[in-house]
Symmetry: C2
Subunit: 471 residues, 2 copies
């Protein structure tokens, strides 16, 4: 059995493989900081050298308007499933440096954890499939499936050049689905597969009452104050029970599955600790739903910013003629960003108090919610692998945040994206003392090896019913 | 008759007097701008030289922690009424210069108007009593009453050193009342005396929901958003009819006098022009009151600023943990600033939505409304003078803004303040092309001459019932 020999290989080369990961993590490939431009190049060189040494074909650097992506493939089994492995070689800035227990780019192993910037997000997790490919090729001269790697360099700065790159390389990137080495496990003590994320749409509203700010003595009490009107207006966006009060807002929201709600009710979740962790005193939200349901299953509308009038020190007795609000919604299936913007517009215009007029600014962008189809092999194989690995069936969980790449791969390539990362949500991704558990690295190597093996046994038609037309 | 000779003197020296005013206005005495420190000194020298040449006694420069004030007196009739004349020699900055039709400190006379920064606010108006004193002294060697001048240099930057100065000079500044050459006539086409102004109190409220801003994906829909809570909270400050909904807020508000309301209803007031002037579409305010009543007779509560979360370009999907509001109230008699702050505090704490806590910041300052007592000679003499001058009884009007010096003179010296300025509200005080009507200058010279003459005929006991103990 080919997986067995690959696993033996990984076990016997363990120390060298961890050393290689340490070398990779040592490169301060901070995409946000122009001072690290040369380091971005060093990370690309490291990846290219690795992919070539492993024995992958067509290793190439794909330029973008910003930092390049690295591509490689092995397509030796025509007719077998083809996966596109996604990851990113860029990392977050490390500042403030004095908050770190050890230098961020001088990796150390402490209590079974590799402590370094980028260890968990995302070099450790995407180094796993590289080493799994190496193990298969070294022991069997082939992989169980066809594999394409796409490792980008701008995830931490919004992946702004990824969609043009993917659009321009549709044929090269064609596959049965995307297996992402990015994302994070919900928690370390609970085997789980993440099958859904919320979408997002963001806009800005401006309420105007007059041509200019006026003196609060001369005009106070006689004309509309833009801040009063905007406060009253945004207060209408939710009802007293915390439900979004915009007409039609929930029309496209897929009703939660009672079975999923029952399963969620059994998930261990410490609400008191969740609140205490951010210094909040009270769980707040849509009536009739638990905190976890509100986070995973329900859409939101949040003011991310609001301002108007004088905001400096001391006082200024002017009545503001304009007030502004930044509004964003987390979306669930089957809400469409443009439709949600239109409903918000209608609500704001309808409820704008007398004396004010409202204008909306929306860039035309948005990301719908993403849900991996229930029976998709990418998902069911992951569940089978984790069940074997941990000896119990993994839970299906969602994530409240938005993963724009999942939506982008669906739109541009017509592919679903399965998150199969072995980082964990508590590993301090964007903060000091980021770490990656070596046990997770170990688990990941075993899991990806087995995943590819099982996938290689599927018939080529297994993905047909999930394939859709790309945009 | 001494007034007649003084008026003759003023008429025959008219051209020279206007030239002197032009010289005075030519000095760019901008108190806010350290670059004009020497010009502030030049304005002081001009005033001192004028006061000495006129023949006033005890001309002195009173230093403060900032710009000095100029004091002078003539106390030659023991037992006669004594007035304290107030004005200010500092002016507003002139920027933006390109909005001016002619250079702000190069005075020109155009269509009977002296166009220059400071012409109307306040050099022209307080130059009038100087020239009236000159006329009386030149023609009769005495004034009809005792006069003290206090011309300060920091009115345009908040008169911050005036109260300490007045407190330290209580005996020097003792008088029967203050006759202020500052303020402004409501409009040019309606003779009026201003007898009341609103007070003010300002504070800042901060609403906190958590220790820090959190990710709107991870926490959205589950915890309180400080901006939502503050918007809902401030929306409770007024009822649907525009009345302030704070319990007890109107308890100390003196009920409007029906006779005054009836008189106000007959004042010509073009509401459409008032709104169009600032680009507002709708009059808004407390139900049951006209726009003018709302501006003069009723207290207000305005948000002067509100902010929270991200206010820069683009979007940031964080849920703000803090939101802030700057709140100010215009007060009417008999509201006390500290009591109003306490009522606001109680309201905000009582209505703060679950999940938020509110903190108030108040510097401990405030100015109550000011009302000149109805039968005060300072007021009735002004009415008599204007009736004679314009041939019809002047209206009694109020002003919606706050005149802290009136309150300060009352608190520190126990004196009422009568506003007797001949500037007009439309003369562009703080904007470009500020101007002062030469006809107003002429009217002012005649009015102040007659005012002093009538005052000189009053018995010394006329002010006894209006005198109160200073703080």
């Amino acid at each position: 059995m080919s997986a067995a020999s690959a696993l033996d290989y990984l076990a016997s080369h363990r120390a060298r493989i961890v050393d290689e990961l340490i070398d990779y993590v040592r490169v301060p490939s901070i995409s946000a900081d122009p001072a690290h431009r040369a380091d971005m190049g060093r990370a690309v060189e490291f990846l290219v050298a690795q992919l070539r040494r492993i024995g992958l074909e067509h290793v190439e650097v794909l330029p973008t308007a910003g930092h390049p992506a690295v591509y490689a493939d092995w397509l030796g089994i025509p007719g077998a499933p083809t996966i596109l492995v996604y990851g990113h070689y860029d990392v977050q800035p490390a500042a403030p440096l004095d908050a770190w227990s050890s230098p961020p780019f001088d990796p150390v192993i402490r209590d079974g954890k590799l402590v370094a910037r980028g260890g968990s997000d995302n070099k450790g997790p995407h180094f796993i499939p590289l080493k799994v490919a190496e193990a298969y090729l070294a022991t069997t001269r082939k992989l169980p499936i066809n594999v394409k790697f796409l490792i980008e360099g701008e995830e931490e700065i919004g992946s702004r050049n990824l969609e043009p790159l993917v659009s321009a390389n549709r044929e090269k990137l064609a596959a049965d689905f995307v297996l992402a080495a990015d994302g994070a496990r919900w928690r370390i003590d609970l085997p789980a597969v993440n099958f859904a994320s919320r979408g997002i749409v963001a806009l800005e509203a401006t309420l105007t009452t007059a041509d200019r700010d006026v003196h609060s003595g001369r005009y106070g009490g006689t004309i509309a104050n833009a801040l009063h009107l905007l406060a009253r207006l945004v207060a209408t966006l939710h009802d007293a029970g915390g439900r979004i009060a915009i007409a039609g807002f929930y029309d496209d929201v897929r009703a939660p599955d009672p079975a999923e709600r029952a399963a969620m009710a059994e998930l261990p979740f410490d609400e008191a600790a969740y609140l205490a962790g951010i210094g909040a005193t009270t769980a707040v939200g849509e009536a009739g739903y638990s905190t976890l349901e509100r986070q995973w299953l329900r859409p939101t509308l949040d003011l991310n910013g609001m301002w108007g009038g004088y905001t400096g020190p001391g006082s200024k007795t002017a009545i503001p003629a304009q007030a502004h609000a930044k509004i964003s919604c987390r979306l669930v299936a089957d809400q469409k960003p443009a439709r949600v913007v239109e409903l918000i517009r209608q609500h704001l215009e309808l409820h704008c108090p007398a004396g004010g007029r409202i204008e909306l600014r929306w860039g035309g962008h948005g990301t719908p919610a993403y849900v991996m189809p229930s029976g998709h092999p990418g998902l069911t194989v992951a569940e089978r692998v984790l069940h074997e690995l941990y000896g119990r069936a993994p839970k299906r969980v969602r994530i409240g945040t938005t993963l724009p790449v999942s939506d982008m791969f669906k739109r541009v390539l017509g592919l679903d994206t399965m998150l199969f990362s072995f980082s964990t949500a508590d590993e301090g991704f964007h903060g000091p003392d980021e770490f990656f558990r070596l046990q997770s690295f170990e688990d990941g190597l075993r899991a990806w090896t087995r995943y590819w093996e099982i996938l290689g046994g599927l018939s080529p038609g297994s993905f047909d019913r999930f394939r859709c037309h790309a945009a």
